[in-house]
């Protein structure tokens, strides 16, 4: 008898929790569904909702960890005109695709002025499509060159003394018997690297003006000296003794672990690593004085005489065009991307703010000694191609530029360009 009651009771409890779970989807007229890409966004959202005095609250939904996973989930839901989405976190390269399909609500002129004020050039550029602002920049991101000070003498390169090139780094790391870590994994991080290399030698993945062309008329710009330089550098690193183990499958975190290893020397990576070193020190996996040995400098150059175009990343908040609470959502975005929120987010997540003024904040300067380098990098950062067909562009580049050790400056640029144009015209598969 007791058992029966118990089972029935548990079943009821389960049913009730299931029902309340379902009911939470819409949750009243002041609840905004907010798709976040980083756990730290939730803390900011909690503060905003309490400060709003009951004007709005959030139903937080977490997007997948990977950039591609986040894109796919947003794309699927937005294409299905999911009205339960109000605010979405959009990785900048994917914004054009969503905006072109009219999935995002464009910000009007006064909102645009408000969300652009004091924002650094890089993050602002990648939030705009066809001269319309579709995302309010929450953070900007750029990669730096990180190095271990103790290996510099042996390597014969000193990034702190002035800009260094990829060739110098590969040679220096080889000479010192240390690694030069980059992201060779076939995912969005490979695209980031290829784009930075091509842009750093003055090229571009898509020819200019392709933003407004139909897919089958878009022309690639990879079959160029810049494309050849990119293929050469990637190949040279992949076959050099300075390459970390498992390079063709290494993402950002693998790069960090190579850099932290005994033979770590150099690495290109996002600034979050600085906060990650702290966590590793706290956990005891890194010695307490590890950070004393770590230096940073601007992203490496391709040609010694040409300034580098550092990778550009970040996150923007957009309002879904299918949301039934768009005005309320804009009101919430105001708080979510405010200077206070960006500062909080930067400290918690380690991701750089998009507002220039934040980098002058004493607390930020103390926590991020490389604040000036990040700000300079963000201003000079070159976004990935702005294209309504970005999915095809990145897919083709990831296919053509992988694995890095098989690339050739003679054939890769031509093949990559051909693949890109064929895929866009629906002649080939990826």
């Amino acid at each position: 008898m007791f058992r029966k009651t118990c089972v029935a009771g548990s079943a009821l409890a389960l049913l009730a929790s299931g029902l309340s779970g379902c009911g939470g989807g819409d949750g009243g007229s002041t609840t905004l569904t907010y798709y976040i890409a980083d756990a730290a966004q939730e803390d900011v959202a909690t503060r905003c909702s309490s400060e709003s005095g009951g004007a709005y609250s959030f139903n937080i939904q977490r997007l997948p960890n990977t950039a591609a996973g986040g894109r796919e989930q947003l794309l699927r839901r937005l294409a299905a005109e999911d009205r339960s989405m109000d605010i979405v976190s959009v990785d900048p390269p994917f914004m054009a695709e969503f905006a072109n399909a009219e999935f995002l609500r464009p910000f009007n002129d006064s909102e645009r002025a408000e969300f652009s004020k004091g924002v650094l050039e890089g993050p602002l550029k990648q939030s705009t499509f066809r001269d319309t602002l579709y995302s309010a920049p929450l953070y900007g991101n750029t990669q730096l060159l990180w190095y271990r000070k103790s290996v510099l003498a042996k390597a014969g390169v000193d990034p702190s003394a002035g800009p260094v090139t990829w060739d110098q780094l590969i040679k220096g790391a080889t000479q010192a018997g240390v690694t030069l870590a980059a992201q060779g994994r076939r995912n969005e991080s490979l695209m980031v690297w290829v784009n930075a290399l091509i842009s750093s030698s003055g090229g571009s993945i898509l020819q200019s003006g392709s933003e407004n062309l139909p897919a089958n008329e878009v022309k690639g710009g990879i079959n160029s000296p810049a494309g050849a330089n990119a293929a050469r550098i990637m190949h040279d690193l992949a076959v050099s003794p300075a390459v970390p183990a498992g390079f063709s499958t290494a993402g950002e975190e693998d790069s960090r672990s190579s850099f932290q290893a005994g033979n770590g020397g150099f690495m290109v990576n996002w600034p979050y690593v600085w906060a990650a070193f702290d966590s590793a020190i706290e956990e005891g996996t890194l010695p307490a004085n590890f950070k004393d040995d770590v230096g940073w400098a601007a992203y490496p150059r391709v040609d010694a005489g040409t300034e580098s175009a550092a990778p550009s990343g970040g996150l923007g908040l957009s309002v879904s065009a299918f949301s039934r609470k768009q005005d309320l959502a804009v009101q919430a975005v105001r708080c979510l991307v405010s200077a206070q929120s960006q500062k909080e987010f930067m400290i918690k997540a380690g991701n750089p703010a998009a507002l220039s003024a934040i980098f002058d904040d004493p607390e930020i300067r103390e926590k991020f000694p490389m604040a000036d380098e990040i700000r300079t990098g963000l201003d000079a950062a070159t976004p990935r191609p702005v294209s309504p067909y970005y999915g095809d562009v990145t897919g083709s580049i990831q296919t053509a530029f992988h694995p890095p050790d098989a690339l050739s400056p003679e054939t890769t640029p031509r093949e990559a360009n051909q693949l890109l144009e064929d895929v866009l015209s629906n002649k080939r598969l990826i």
Partner: protein, 317 residues
């Protein structure tokens, strides 16, 4: 299957529909109506959830249709099929899919048979043994793929440590990556194979084996001459099920290699076109081709190898 057809009642003499209707008693008619009322909703639901998507996919496969560009939708008839079938990538991935299927199913058959024999013959701890063998099959594929991906990882995996391989990157080359995928697949699905084979094994009367033993047959001879011939139907059914499953492999590859190093399979090709590129037309065409291939495999097993599916239901001894 053949038994069911032969058991069917002899065809009644020809009669008109009207005459037949008259002959139905009220009770029969009511029962028939009740049958339709009871099964009808399920039938409609089945058609809706299986028939509609299939027909819709076939219809969509005739269009050049990008989800983010609905206005650019264009009827291209068989254009997508032409693009796919003339693309080297499709044939390469067809080859990879076939290779994975052949390797994993063959190894699973041998291992599964051995495990089935162990489960069948075990005298002690029978339940514990069967449970232990079946555990991998109870694990979600995504979870087991992650487990194997971590195991083979060159930074924190145990495989390199155990075999003294240093920092060998299993996922850095096509063959080594395919090897890890096959290992994960075999580990995960061998129990299913052994379960199907165990059912076949249990159907062999002990008398046969005893008679063979009395006649002086060795253990190997008993397996070859008595067990295997009597299990043929069960083996074929197990092979059919596993082949159909293996040919659609997706999860392990998605998790372990994300398709890098030329490890993409046909399911992955469909995923990339439909989900990543949102080229719904092209993706549907890949899916239709994949479905046709799966049907062909099934037909080949049933017609060429004369696989008798009724064996599995126990209709026939």
């Amino acid at each position: 299957m053949s038994t069911t057809t032969s058991a069917a009642p002899p065809r009644p003499p020809k009669e008109t529909r009207a005459a037949r209707r008259i002959r139905l008693t009220d009770r029969t008619r009511k029962e028939r109506n009740l049958g339709w009322m009871l099964a009808g909703p399920a039938f409609i639901a089945m058609v809706a959830v299986t028939g509609y998507p299939i027909l819709n996919a076939i219809w969509l496969s005739l269009f050049d249709f990008r989800l983010t560009d609905p206005s650019g939708r264009e009827f291209v008839f068989l254009g997508n099929y032409l693009t796919i079938l003339t693309d080297g990538l499709f044939w390469q991935q067809f080859g990879i899919t076939s290779l994975i299927t052949i390797v994993t199913v063959s190894v699973e058959l041998v291992l599964g048979f051995a495990l089935a024999m162990v489960m069948h013959r075990a005298l002690y701890l029978r339940t514990a043994l069967r449970t232990a063998i079946l555990i991998p099959y109870g694990i979600i594929t995504v979870v087991s793929s992650y487990a194997w991906a971590y195991a083979f990882s060159n930074t924190y995996g145990f495989v390199n440590g155990v075999f003294g391989l240093g920092e060998y990157d299993w996922f850095g080359g096509t063959w080594s990556a395919l090897f890890t995928v096959c290992v994960a697949e075999i580990w995960k699905t061998t129990p299913f194979m052994s379960l199907l084979l165990l059912a076949g094994l249990a159907q062999i009367p002990d008398d046969y084996l005893e008679a063979a033993k009395v006649d002086g047959a060795t253990a190997w001879q008993r397996v070859k001459r008595v067990i295997l011939p009597n299990m043929k139907a069960a083996i074929m059914v197990a092979l059919l099920f596993r082949t159909l499953d293996a040919f659609r492999i997706f999860d392990s590859i998605f998790i372990m290699t994300a398709g890098a190093q030329n490890t993409e399979t046909l399911s992955f090709l469909a995923y990339r076109q439909t989900i990543s590129r949102v080229m719904v037309g092209l993706g549907s065409a890949v899916s239709v081709i994949l479905a046709v291939l799966v049907v062909l495999i099934a037909v080949m097993f049933v017609k060429v190898f004369k696989t008798d599916l009724s064996q599995q239901r126990g209709d026939k001894k």
